[in-house]
Symmetry: C2
Subunit: 274 residues, 2 copies
């Protein structure tokens, strides 16, 4: 049962469909029209907009919604008969703690680190997850549910790594959330009339700044404390660049530049496909 | 006469070769071996490593070197018989003022805003410049030289815009130099062991951070005052993000996000090919 059939939910459906033709996939959402289109596109077997649905016994639920809607949607999936539930949110502590406090020991939070700038199941790709890392963050969860959620994300080609929700949120603050804020600032620093004077560097650095505000505001707020630490680190580094430039200190500036360059040059060996 | 036959110089040679088969192209550089390879690859008709070369009468020189080497190389091209010289550097005031002070009224600085993360003439592309903007920044230059330099960059498909060197440097500080610093900081914020937890967002935002330190240190130092202003603006915006997150102010955070998102969503209409 996939709650939220957008790019991520749709790609999960496509990936499962591709690998397990007999797997029955049910989509849950707010728009009957959109869900029916996903059925017509062959991504779903069935769909529902009702909060009081009853799903087949032992269904596995996956919530693929913006982070501020995940906890409620996960609880609804349990109420509708799912025996285990996971999600695909970019923040984990707030969600996992809410589910743990409610006693849902078959909820196993997850963050498949895959995506694109596109939205909607029309851009669904069965190989979106393949080769990428999925972080799962169980909190006092039952072993059977943990096993099942590991198996789900592995089945669509992901390398599954287990962290605590707090560890996840600290890591993602620097690997994803900070780059989004910096991209937004880089984009905002150019008034529209000067866009003809941008090149490929601006284009790539700011691509993710065009993302949906509602998704990113939720993430930045729900992972607030960790993101504030990451922002403070970035301000510190900006200050170091500032000092080196003001002092016209070439050696110091080169050392600063090389910190990022060295890390970035390692990336192709980690994500060979990219 | 192209001084510096790397990605930019090589692409200029390829673009001219493609459009004007009878144009005679001479490469100047430090490595006879590399220049001979560019001749063998069909990019150049001839090459020279000598500072005391004599080029054919009325030659047009183009310096495609890192910014800190451009002024000296331009002066050498005049001494070797070029009757007009332009360049392709990302900073203009320091270069154009040096040439103007020396009385070279046939130097017309230029910045073709095109490039890629690759280096070396092996990656030369005849269409690298097509459809992009070239800023030319004449300072008390002779009309004939200005006309000739405009024609050169237009001939390889560029839209030519004239600005003063100071205007150029202020614009590029925000459209190019600031994004490079922010990309470098985003890259440096992730320790190498956490690279498996990065996604497409980190990859794109940090791509230009892998660039050559010697090129970027020169640019950041030569355009110091304008880049310091741009960095101060970025610190101010980081502070605003910080405040909105600390106050958990969703409306304010959404307004901040939308500033960058609105600008970035306009980009495809400016660079349709990208």
């Amino acid at each position: 049962v996939i709650s939220g059939v957008g790019l991520i939910g749709g790609s999960l459906a496509a990936a499962l469909r591709h690998r397990f033709p007999n797997c029955r996939i049910i989509g849950v959402g707010r728009s009957a029209e959109r869900l029916q289109k996903a059925v017509d596109a062959g991504l779903l077997d069935d769909c529902s907009t009702s909060l009081s649905s009853r799903f087949p016994a032992d269904s596995l639920g996956v919530v693929c919604l913006p982070v501020h809607r995940i906890a409620d949607a996960a609880i609804e999936l349990f109420q509708s008969g799912c025996s285990a539930v996971t999600d695909a949110g970019s923040v984990k502590s707030s969600i996992c703690m809410t589910l743990a406090e409610r006693g849902h020991k078959s909820f196993v939070g997850a963050h498949p680190i895959a995506g694109s700038e596109h939205r909607g199941f029309e851009h669904a790709e069965p190989d979106l997850f393949a080769g990428h890392t999925c972080i799962v963050t169980p909190v006092e969860a039952e072993a059977a549910a943990v096993h099942r959620v590991h198996a789900l994300w592995q089945a669509v080609g992901m390398k599954v790594v287990q962290l605590s929700p707090a560890e996840h949120d600290a890591v993602l603050a620097s690997t994803s959330h900070l780059p989004h804020v910096l991209a937004s600032i880089a984009a905002a620093s150019v008034p529209e009339r000067l866009l003809p004077f941008t090149g490929n560097g601006y284009r790539d650095t700011t691509r993710i700044a065009a993302g949906d505000a509602s998704i990113w505001v939720s993430i930045l707020l729900e992972n607030g404390p960790e993101i504030l630490k990451a922002l403070d680190g970035a301000v510190g580094m900006l200050q170091q660049f500032r000092d080196a430039i003001a002092l016209q200190d070439a050696a110091r500036l080169e050392r600063l530049w090389e910190v990022g360059a060295r890390v970035r040059r390692q990336l192709p060996s980690v994500h060979p496909g990219d």
